[in-house]
Symmetry: C2
Subunit: 436 residues, 2 copies
């Protein structure tokens, strides 16, 4: 089975756990059967492999997510990198061409497209095979999954089938109706559109040519930024006549808001947290080192990361976006392919950062124009290179780097350093990269 997993944008709706560089699908929050925490993308990847051992999975995503994907899924996964952030039609087009040109998948094979962020059980994945078979049948161009609605949501798109059979031709699509309309739709057998469908690879390639006059993977990659930003739903699904829907009635949760997200988390608290007397339906997720104490709360989510602290009524949490947009989103913490960093202190003319390099990794060789840096090695061993001179460093060593000096560090074990930056106009943009 060929599967394209769409790994979407940054998303602020799960602030402060998701931010400009950490998307919600990478938050490790679901305990798997062996007691370890996994992220949405790890969970869905594992669920697919459990059922389809030999599935050819391709993840389409933007550059900024590549290292997180390799960190979490290993460096053997197929990643189709979008040159810039567009919408689902360009992303699917790029991935289809990647499968055809790079992976040499025949145009006659089916491709299943799934988002990475629903929380579902294994029956969801069993259905993928049905979609795959269906889309290859005569007079079928697209086979779509329709999710049986559990309530009249105003947030989702609805699929209106021609009848109430298990498999039905699609009559129409309706976007985000009001509650009353949604109730009516559901009464008449409408289904949620969860963004899961199957089509022949050749069909996807034809659509690419029809709408953007491109066929070749490299060509698509180069022209990517010039494409129209349009969703696959808008560009293709809603215009397609030969489209069928298969009903899905298993567990399906869209983890787009704190409210739905916490429904999928089995523990009431993760991290250093105490739920005191009078707490009911409370979830605490604490990524800070300091304790959180909750008392007398009902239906509340508390989430804390180095970026900030959210305390919200679960239902109200869906209105978070405009508030987060307004904040100065200085990113205080990030996991990278080489390790992680955490901002410890910010003053007008200094900044203190804790840098953790994984064993065998290194920074880019770089310099800064407007700041000196001091590295205090607090754990591990490595080598620093300052203006092309190499030196071994270990716990307790200090490295001073004046503005203008080229510098890097290579971790021979896990290496932790406190980096003290001193200067006027300290900025992440003050960085000149060099080749080593």
């Amino acid at each position: 089975m060929n599967i394209i997993l769409l790994s979407g944008g940054s998303g602020k709706r799960l602030w402060p756990l998701s931010n400009g560089i950490r998307s919600k699908q990478f938050i490790k929050i679901f305990k798997n059967s062996s007691g370890q925490y996994e992220s949405m993308i790890q969970r869905i990847y594992r669920q697919i492999i459990d059922i389809y051992k030999d599935a050819e999975i391709t993840i389409t995503t933007s550059k900024s997510q590549v290292s997180a994907i390799y960190n979490q899924l290993g460096s053997n996964v197929n990643v189709c990198v979008e040159p810039c952030r567009m919408d689902t039609f360009p992303a699917i087009t790029l991935a289809a061409a990647y499968l055809y040109d790079v992976k040499k998948v025949p145009a006659s094979e089916a491709v299943v497209v799934c988002p990475v962020d629903p929380y579902v059980d294994s029956s969801y994945f069993s259905l993928l095979q049905k979609l795959e078979g269906l889309c290859l049948m005569e007079n079928v161009n697209i086979a779509l999954m329709g999710i049986e609605a559990s309530y009249p949501s105003e947030k989702y798109g609805y699929i209106i089938p021609e009848d109430n059979n298990y498999i039905s031709k699609v009559k129409a699509f309706k976007e985000k109706p009001d509650k009353e309309t949604a109730e009516n739709y559901i009464k008449n057998g409408a289904l949620w559109n969860g963004g899961v469908f199957a089509a022949e690879l050749g069909y996807l390639l034809d659509k690419a040519y029809e709408l953007e006059k491109v066929r070749d993977y490299k060509d698509i990659y180069l022209k990517y930024s010039t494409f129209d930003k349009r969703s696959f739903d808008y560009a293709v699904l809603e215009k397609e006549k030969d489209i069928y829907v298969v009903r899905f009635s298993g567990e399906w949760k869209d983890l787009g808001t704190w409210n739905t997200f916490t429904e999928a988390v089995h523990e009431t608290s993760i991290g250093n947290a105490t739920l005191g007397r009078g707490c009911d339906n409370v979830h605490v997720i604490n990524e800070l080192d300091i304790p959180i104490l909750c008392m007398g709360l009902q239906d509340i989510v508390v989430s804390a990361s180095p970026d900030g602290i959210l305390v919200s009524d679960k239902e109200q949490s869906s209105f978070i976006k405009p508030y987060v947009d307004k904040m100065d989103n200085i990113i205080m913490f990030a996991e990278k392919s080489w390790g992680s960093f955490k901002v410890l202190d910010v003053e007008s003319e200094s900044m203190v950062i804790k840098v953790t390099l994984k064993h065998g990794n290194r920074m880019n060789y770089h310099s800064h124009e407007n700041r000196d840096e001091i590295w205090n090695v607090i754990k591990g061993q490595g080598k620093v290179i300052i203006n092309d001179k190499e030196r071994v460093v270990t716990t307790g060593d200090i490295v001073t780097i004046k503005a203008g000096c080229k510098h890097t560090v290579i971790a021979d074990t896990e290496l932790k350093m406190i980096e003290v930056q001193i200067g006027k106009d300290i900025s992440v943009n003050d960085k000149i990269k060099f080749k080593l």
Copy 2:
């Protein structure tokens, strides 16, 4: 007027703003008329001086609070230091002897005793003069303030007067009744005991001799730890026949819990906080650098400091103590007479601290057995002394201090440093002090 202000213990009920070394009376949270934040003790001190310009105010407190008092009230205030933490009878006895022996107050003068932590208006202080006059009258040994109860509290002590006159003889004292009994008391004219009273200095000295066989200030100071731990209420008030109460009907708030504390704070948020849609009767006090966002909360207090984060229903916040008792109370932040410190990072064999020294101040000259330290000066100028050798330091300088080295720093301007501690068994107790 002679006033003894009782500045009580650490108190965990306002965690995380109060902790083992910061008592609630030092939290700067009340905006005064000139728009500046003041603490309870600053507020009450100012209120007394506003009415009684020449009042002789003595603050009795433990050693651990002395620098906070000097920081907040200036170094000219009279502080009577308790050698160890006892109860109100020993504290008042010590202060009375201090007034007589050190301050040479005649035994025939009245002394007014007040706690530092009620939130009151100026009418409260006007009443002190009435108490002062009353206690000097014949057949009166103690003149007590009785606070008109605004609700049948189960937390307070009640004064049962003989009649409902403005001034009345006291018939009995009742401690913490249940709600029904409290309602009955109030119906019959009972008053809350707010711990405010006046007595002749000679009377207080006599009680000291009667109960502990001591008279002299130095003697009391030396024997202090051997005294019985008993409250003044229990030891004296409840046994006194010639005791009168004066009714007080002005604003009086005991700021002992987050619920009552927030009633006295005029702003709904202090620090980096956003109250989003659906918030009602919410208070946020944020001493952290990161933002707090609240949505859809009712009757909630959110309080964050480097020690932790509290999210509580206001009423339920009064049950906080046992939860805080159970926490590992590592103190992550403290204001000291010389400046402040803040823990930025803790690892098993390292710790990072930000140290701020006020202009003209210095650390003790000291050494550590089990850790090396690195000072990264991020702001200001000063002098360090390492093993008796002095050296000037300024922004960007690094000082390495090996275990065993004597060291100190003297701030010639405000001086900020990042101190990186490295070693096994890092502990605040690993400190040997030396004379310079």
